[in-house]
């Protein structure tokens, strides 16, 4: 049951526990975390679940793979950074227990 910490744009911290195998988007939506929308239902089609992976965790989660749909959508996200991922593409397994994700100022 991995634990994930979401840090809002205003600094507010939300710590949630999810079933192993849930995605970052599931964790946010199921726990009413503000600032992550996930309009498409979590199928990598809208880029409104944009998050920044805490640099300490980037090796574990990996970056979005160039040429794939996630990276293609992320390039248009507002304030896209090296640590950007789409939360629906991060699967929360036990080795991501303690993951820290930061939420951008907005989704669109």
């Amino acid at each position: 049951m991995p634990k994930v910490t979401f840090i809002g744009h205003n600094g507010a911290e939300h710590v949630v526990t999810v079933a192993s195998g849930a995605t970052g988007r599931d964790a946010a939506i199921n726990n009413d975390i503000p600032g992550i929308d996930g309009d498409c239902g979590g199928v990598c089609a809208c880029a409104t679940c944009h998050v920044y992976v805490d640099p300490a965790w980037l090796d574990k989660t990996g970056r979005a793979v160039a040429g794939e749909m996630e990276a293609e959508l992320l390039q248009f996200a507002e304030d896209f950074r090296e640590t950007s991922r789409l939360a629906c593409q991060i699967t929360l397994t036990d080795d991501l227990d303690g993951l820290v994700l930061r939420i951008p100022a907005g989704q669109h």
Binding site: G41, V43, F76, A105, G106, H108
Partner: protein, 424 residues
Amino acid sequence: MPVKEAIKVDVNKIPLDEIDVSNPYLFQNDTIGEYFKRLRKEDPVHYCAKGHSGAYWSVTKFNDIMRVDTDHKTFSSDSARGGIALDGPGARSESSSRSGAPDMGLTMFIAMDPPKHDEQRKVVSPIVAPHNLETLEPIIRERAAAILDSLPVGEEIDWVDKVSIELTTMTLATLFDFPWEERRKLTRWSDVVTSSPGNGVDSWEQWQRELTECAMYFKELWDQRVGGEQKHDLISILAGSPATSNMPFGEFLGNLLLLIVGGNDTTRNSITGGVLALNQNPKEYAKLMNDPGLITDMVPEIIRWQTPLSHMRRTAVRDAEVGGKKIREGDKVAMWYLSGNRDSEVIERADEFLIDRKNPRHHVSFGFGIHRCVGNRLAELQLRIIWEEIVTRFRKVEVVGEPVRSLSNLIHGFTRMPVILHAL
């Protein structure tokens, strides 16, 4: 066959291969829903060999639409192949009313594929970034309030002209920092782009003349702002960014027109459509007036319900299978958003307008994938503001006559809707 009057046709009696959902009259007389319902059930990926829009495939279910929309490598938006509308300016169909349109070299990133699409979208996207929307909100609210305060109460007015058009034009003028007194030109030019002889203009010559006037007007604004102080309106942003400051004039105009069109009749028709939906569903209107906090969730439901763009079209660049059907290279494929938004296998109680439904943003009106509507949050912002300002002023916006729907298989909207405003 054109169905010009609102005859009661039994859709189930038409042979499947004679069904032509590109017929604009079906949208104007609002019988189109029955056709899509049948296709979703019996032939969700349906081929029409010889319709109003020539030969084309219809994709009618939500998940199939998503599959096509997100597969831009197979399904191209490029204007050189025909662009993103069944009857668009680039369409090659002989039966299309747009054949004969002069080639003004208008190119817009909506009708491009990567890599060109990506470069241009990235430039425009910041205009609707969260911080920009925050700056825009109070200006839009102030101007929306002024529009609503100027309306007569208790007498019949045309909501489309006096409110929907007025509001959306106002937002566009704000976005472009367009000369305020001339802002109705934006509406006119937007309407011209999607018109054709007999439907908005008298001739292709007039179409070209008006769009050339538009081009010259924007060129002047561009020249005024290029090299000027860094401002935040769209023209300044385009003039100031290396990716776009040297773009060919046809491209500059095309992208501007995209933003005007994209932000114009779509938002306009959502504003009108929301009023109509609430009138047709009085329990929902009562819910709203009882709890204006529902506005935030009502807005995406309005956008789903209205589906301001009935379809977006793609062209297959290679053979592909969709929903068990074999689509061939070169085939035209229409994603019918209007149908996807009524797909009850994906959306619960899809045929009902419910302002407090769960996951109201789970709809296909903005599309999906790399072309997903770049202005979607701006559209929602406008709708939210207008409803917040309406509920504090009017007990009811009452529709008092039959609205007139647009004659189009692309723009799902209204040209007229008589209403009477009732004070609180």
